[in-house]
Symmetry: C2
Subunit: 393 residues, 2 copies
């Protein structure tokens, strides 16, 4: 029997307890032993909970109990979660988490401790919720040089953008709707400003190229200033506006990562990923393009990924998974990457061609340029008096 | 250094050699040791090949060389490949394959030998080519009760159906085009009659529910009798005709698997999987729907999956992957599964409602019925004088 502890009994923690209970038999059959939730750590009281007998408030109980093999960290944030994760690893316990903030900011250090203590630190649920994507990336695609990763990494903003295009409503109204449905938080900043997606693209980048890319080092642009007009023009011309996290390896061996809204052609499978769903495209030099699609959040989907990691940690209790990354990524700013741009304003196609060299008209006063850096695009937008500019995938 | 042998130097075998060469450094960095192709077994001569010094014709060289840790079987078929795989496993070597016919028909027996000899028999490339799908299924989703799997498992037929809907050409013409492009073989039977997809849905089913489902035990219907008229009517009504492999767990604990063309609503992500691409949807009781998308065939994509398995086999050289399935699946015939049907003929909507109880008109003389078994649908089609009938997902 593998005994585990859950730290943080919020949405994810409760989901993990529920999956462990509901799928107890099938998990035991696949793993060859039972997974038993011995403790649930939370500062709050849960009187009447079916887990009341296992609720504890003191982390040291977990830390000092040699029976606890795997600790699920679903506290969130990078303060208490960091302290407890560090201590759990140092106590020789495997740690599994859904905490993208912690992995993105302290993953390197925590994986280093895990290596020293010969335990696993696994975090499949930190990107794409329940969608299997990190393990496929570092394991199934291990024979590839990864060239690029891009995707819809945040369900809240994808819901908002989907409602804008399908419902013809503004960002502000779509956000209110998302909040009413529980898809967006009261303070939606981390979602709508691209911070959540930024943490996830950092983790994908860390795993793909083995060099740490910190959220602080990349540019993140959200969707709060997206105009419905541009969403509509794009849609009529066969594009969808999507908030993408992107990371790529450049020909000079350097790399880049950023988050920004993009126009995506509907011929690209990512464009048809709607509502709260996530879709992540990975391009390898052997496999070509592969995409992973599903629910990027929610209690049970996230718990599915956590439980997959718990099972994996137990299966690798003797010989840990060789995971980790080092410092020293050679980052190129997103502003220096040449790409096509969407510009809208009170200008003619001829004007646009004069200023940008190359331009394709979506409708009067709305064009897609040839490849330009952000600096060049901003200069062109200035000359043309453009009121909107967006990247094109 | 991990020394491997490749058996069969066709498309896949040559792809594996190419990926091992091209991505040598990155593979060594990830694995912590080099992967070296020591032998390539083929009955043919490859004079002037850069691998000429490693080409052999006698399997016993591989069998008797203790240095060879992993054998890649890319021979195909279930005769020589079966013999060599069995002998390689008995000789204590890990075997990695892309051979869906062999895994679908003899996987249970070969995994049993692998277990006895404590070696790995891995076959990610046998389903979905380069797309990571089997490992995500048995590992990342191990915390789920799998409820259903369906998908486009054959690129050749998907190319043909895509050309029919996009090019407005008949099955026969689209097949000729696919053959000219090298997507379809001279004898396209295994692809167009659903046999290839059938083998793959059996493997998915074996892994999902742990019980052997043999290709001989399931019904397989291909696309050779699909009329362009029906493809067009479906397209105009918001559906795509797709050849799906489907497998599901029923409420009574029994299971079903089959291959047949279906109408798929374009609101389903599987409907937009076009050309030679594959898309596989897996529904788990925790994760909900997740989809895996990419190139389901081709030398390098398939080699990507094979190389991922080679790396995994080496990482698990001491403690093998716990994979396998037993006999005794309780199968329900696809004919007994209630589902909606598309019927076309010279009948009115009222006729259809009288006969089927429930019917939705796509256009005059073309309806989608309520849920019925195949027997019921055939009876209804007979009464209505329908000339076409297709399942609806």
């Amino acid at each position: 029997m593998a005994k585990i502890a859950i730290m943080g009994f919020g949405t994810v923690g409760a989901g993990v307890a529920e999956v462990a209970r509901r799928n107890q038999e099938i998990i035991a059959r696949r793993l060859g032993e039972e997974v038993y939730v011995k403790y649930i750590l939370d500062v709050r009281d849960f009187a009447g909970s079916p887990y009341a007998d296992r609720m504890i408030k003191d982390f040291s109980v977990i830390e000092n109990d040699p029976e606890v093999e795997v600790v699920v960290e679903s506290i969130g944030g990078a303060k208490v979660a960091l302290d407890f994760t560090r201590r759990a690893l140092l106590a020789g316990k495997h740690v599994v988490t859904s905490n993208k903030e912690l992995v993105a900011t302290h993953g390197r250090e925590l994986l280093e401790i895990a290596r020293e203590k010969n335990v696993n630190y696994l975090f499949e649920a930190s990107v794409g919720g329940g969608i299997p994507v990190l393990r496929p990336l570092f394991q199934c695609l291990a024979g590839n040089e990864i060239e690029e990763i891009y995707g819809i990494l945040n369900g809240t903003t994808n819901y908002i953008l989907t409602r804008m295009v399908q419902g013809g409503i503004s960002f502000a109204d779509a956000l209110k709707e998302a909040q009413a449905k529980g898809y967006a938080e009261k303070d939606p900043t981390a979602d709508v400003e691209g911070i959540d997606a930024g943490r996830k693209i950092c983790i994908l980048s860390d795993l793909a190229w083995g060099k740490e890319v910190s959220p602080a080092d990349i540019s993140m642009e959200g969707i709060s200033s997206i105009h419905l007009t541009d969403v509509d023009i794009a849609a009529a011309a066969g594009y969808r506006v999507k908030l993408l996290g992107r990371a790529m390896r450049l020909e000079n061996g350097k790399q880049a990562a950023y988050v920004a809204p993009h126009l995506v052609s509907i011929s690209c499978p990512i464009a048809t990923v709607d509502d709260v769903f996530n879709g992540i495209m990975i391009r390898g030099n052997a496999v070509g393009d592969v995409m992973f699609y599903g629910r990027g959040a929610g209690d049970l989907p996230t718990a599915s990924a956590v439980m997959g990691d718990v099972i994996d940690a137990v299966q690798h209790r003797e010989k840990r998974r060789n995971l980790g990354w080092s410092q020293g990524a050679a980052l190129v700013s997103a502003a220096e990457l040449p790409m096509k741009w969407y510009l809208r304003g009170n200008f003619s196609l001829d004007d646009a061609r004069t200023v940008c060299g190359q331009a394709e008209e979506l409708r009067t006063g709305a064009v897609i340029t040839g490849a330009m850096t952000e600096t060049q695009a901003k200069a062109a937008a200035g000359k043309l008096g453009a009121v909107s500019m967006l990247r094109v995938l």
